[in-house]
């Protein structure tokens, strides 16, 4: 074997592969027009797939399975293949790599992330606003539910399947025991925590392992003092954490940390353990959405705390620019429609499914993203259930976007890491601000070109 020749051959192979890559990398753009929502042709039933990130036995999947069965009865040969990866980080990795490999199925879940925006601008996803309007269901949706799915430019490429409200659940008995009141402003939190700690109570139970719960606290303060636009500017490098808005927010987080708001070792506490800490009466506050109504507002809840549980919504700040009825009200991860595989069958199925969905879904006791149905309250519900459901009709226009769907992935990963360090007191607010402004400046503007 001649080594020089071998080396040459290898180099050639590498170069070929490089060409192959650049050749296929731009190739994910579909052949069809993303706005052509009503293509002509015959409806030919086949199997279609939906890559999604939702609980396997949850309301959305149960409802869609039922609807797909109904549709298949009239359209023999049709099947809906649901491929779910509930663990969100694994899902995101999966869907982004599938996109790179140009192997996305007919339907796939995504948040309104920068990556999704790139896909949309390449024509990979159908225009959801055009689609919903064409199907005549657009006006049924709660504006807040649709707004949550929109990109910064207001365009809509994802269809919501849920509507959730995020509350601060709290234990009235523990509040009484420590002699504290429901906080009126966000600035009341540190003092609240100090008093609860002094009474030997864990102030707030936090699932630190999954990162997003802590990142919510990062979003709260700026949402109150500067409104939802702040994060949109921050992520592009147009605003900085060293601005007054950012500085106040970081200081508030740092105060939460030094007041010991979260349980010791919160960064390695998982979802179930955090919730158990609240439902067993150890922790006084727990920040979670209405997807947990079944655990928190039914007789599944431990009898010893059942009558003590109540909730409050995100407190305001003294000079708040957003109203008290505006807080985190996500419509969950959205469903995008692949433009490349869009055809009369996909349209016909979506038409059937989206019209039928609200009724079937609301019957499971969940909040529909539309306003045309009534949520069925389960038989074992506590009075809190009805109150939480009614609260949905009172939600304001602006919604606090979770930052993990806003920032570019590199800045987001770093923010999650630095937040933990800030709250644990490993770094001070200035270090935090310096690091994050640097990371966002390096990655944000590039990601949102």
């Amino acid at each position: 074997m001649n080594t020089t020749r071998t080396r040459l051959a290898l180099a050639a192979t590498v170069a070929t592969i490089g060409l192959l890559l650049s050749g296929c990398s731009g190739g994910s753009s579909g052949t069809s027009d993303p706005t052509d929502v009503s293509p002509e042709g015959e409806i030919v039933p086949r199997e279609i797939s939906w890559l999604l990130s939702r609980p396997a036995d949850g309301g959305v999947i149960t409802a869609m399975e039922q609807i797909a069965d109904e549709y298949a009865k009239d359209h023999p040969g049709f099947a809906l293949n649901l491929i779910t990866t509930p663990d969100r980080p694994s899902y995101i990795q999966k869907y982004e790599t599938l996109a790179a490999a140009n192997k996305l199925p007919e339907l796939f879940d995504t948040d309104a992330t920068p990556f999704a925006q790139k896909l949309a601008s390449q024509g990979t996803m159908m225009d959801a606003e055009a689609l919903l309007k064409d199907l005549g269901v657009y006006d049924d949706y709660r504006p807040a539910a649709l707004n949550y799915q929109r990109f910064d430019d207001g365009s809509l490429y994802m269809v919501p399947f849920e509507f959730q409200l995020e509350f601060f659940w709290y234990n009235k008995a523990l509040f009484q025991q420590a002699g504290v009141e429901v906080p009126k402003t966000l600035d009341d939190f540190p003092a609240l925590c100090t008093k609860l700690r002094a009474a030997g109570i864990t102030p707030i139970a936090l699932d630190g392992q999954d990162q997003w719960p802590l990142e919510r606290y990062m979003a709260y303060y700026p949402f109150r003092t500067a409104g939802p636009d702040y994060v949109q500017q921050l992520k592009k490098g147009d605003a900085k954490l060293s601005d007054e808005t950012g500085e106040q927010a970081v200081q508030w987080l740092s105060d939460l940390g030094s007041a010991g708001c979260f349980q010791d070792g919160f960064s390695s506490t998982g979802y179930s353990d955090a919730q158990a800490s609240f439902t067993s009466g150890k922790a006084a506050v727990y920040n979670i959405g209405t997807w947990e109504l079944n655990s928190l507002a039914t007789d599944a809840l431990d009898p010893s705390v059942r009558d003590d549980i109540d909730y409050f919504t995100l407190p305001v700040t003294t000079d708040s620019v957003t109203a008290a009825n505006e807080y985190v009200s996500p419509s969950g991860i959205g469903m995008a429609v692949n433009a490349k595989t869009y055809d009369p069958l996909v349209r016909d199925f979506l038409s059937f499914a989206l019209k039928r969905y609200p009724e079937v879904y609301a019957a499971t006791g969940a909040l529909s993203p539309t306003t045309n149905v009534q949520t069925t309250i389960p038989d074992n519900a506590t009075p809190l259930y009805q109150r939480a459901v009614d609260q949905a009709n009172d939600v304001g226009e602006k919604t606090a976007m979770p930052w993990d769907t806003q920032l570019d992935p590199t800045s987001n990963t770093r923010l999650q890491q630095e937040l933990t360090l800030l709250l644990q007191g490993e770094i001070d607010p200035d270090e935090f601000i310096g690091t994050m402004d640097g990371v966002i400046a390096d990655n944000g503007p590039k990601a949102f070109q």
């Binding site: 074997m1 080594t3 592969i17 192959l20 890559l21 296929c24 990130s53 939702r54 609980p55 396997a56 036995d57 949850g58 491929i83 779910t84 990866t85 509930p86 663990d87 969100r88 694994s90 999966k94 790599t97 599938l98 790179a100 490999a101 140009n102 192997k103 699932d207 392992q209 999954d210 997003w212 998982g270 979802y271 179930s272 919730q275 158990a276 067993s280 997807w291």
Partner: protein, 298 residues
Amino acid sequence: MTLTATRPIRPSEQESLPRPRRRQLHLQRKLTGVIVALIVIVQVYPLAWLFITSVRTEQDFAGGNPFALPTEITFDNYTRAFATGNLGLNILNSLIVTVGAIVVIVFLGMMGAYALQVLGFRFSRFVRALFLIGIIVPVQVALVPLFVDYAAVNLLDTYQSIIIPLAGFALPTSIYLFSSFYEYIPGEIYEAASLDGAGPYRIFGQITLPLSVNTMVTVAMVNSIFIWNDFIFANTFVLTDDLKTIPLGLQNYIGAMGKVDWTATFAAVCVSITPLLLVFLVLNKAMTYSLASGATKG
């Protein structure tokens, strides 16, 4: 194989020792026994804990002391584990991947060693050095390039996509083990066969291959532990549920937003380790022997 002097020699020496020395030895042995027992307990306890937790009730696990003995025994966790996940399929997939990769590793390893050690050629030293890189370099290096290559040739989400890197990275060790065994096959055997008119193919099939059975077992055993439990390649290249192996299947028990049904998860863990555990316990003699002899010859 050249395993010499592996018999324990120590017990006989005792007879020749004077009495006090013997008593001291006795005490020393007792102490050693206790220490070894303690170490073994530390080593095995977590495994035992897994099995105990898998029959605990959820309330007992969440509310009670998760490290005490369970208050009652339940098999509901197993029912839920099978209902939530796709354990049967996952085990089947792991089996396919493991067997597939092992067959490749064993046969290609034998062929490579035969070419390098028995046939020999001019650049064999260079090829050997080339293979050495694979022992040293961490597998993660291959993730991104392989991902792009698979995407280009449509191999993502197939059994081959996991088997290729698993086999590729295990191949150097396999070749190395077979070579060091072939070194000890006396040259006269080959000469005799050659005189009988046997060519390289017949000699491989009729002499080398049958003699290699022990080494084959070694290679298969060592690698099956790693391959059965491989997480990183499967996690990167498998995209759909149909091909998920056991480690990925277990990941499925982490629910949306991070919620975990712990007792069901541990039941699933127990189901997933049982096949390998049984194989291991049945074949443990052969395995411990082959593991040790495999490496000490180096």
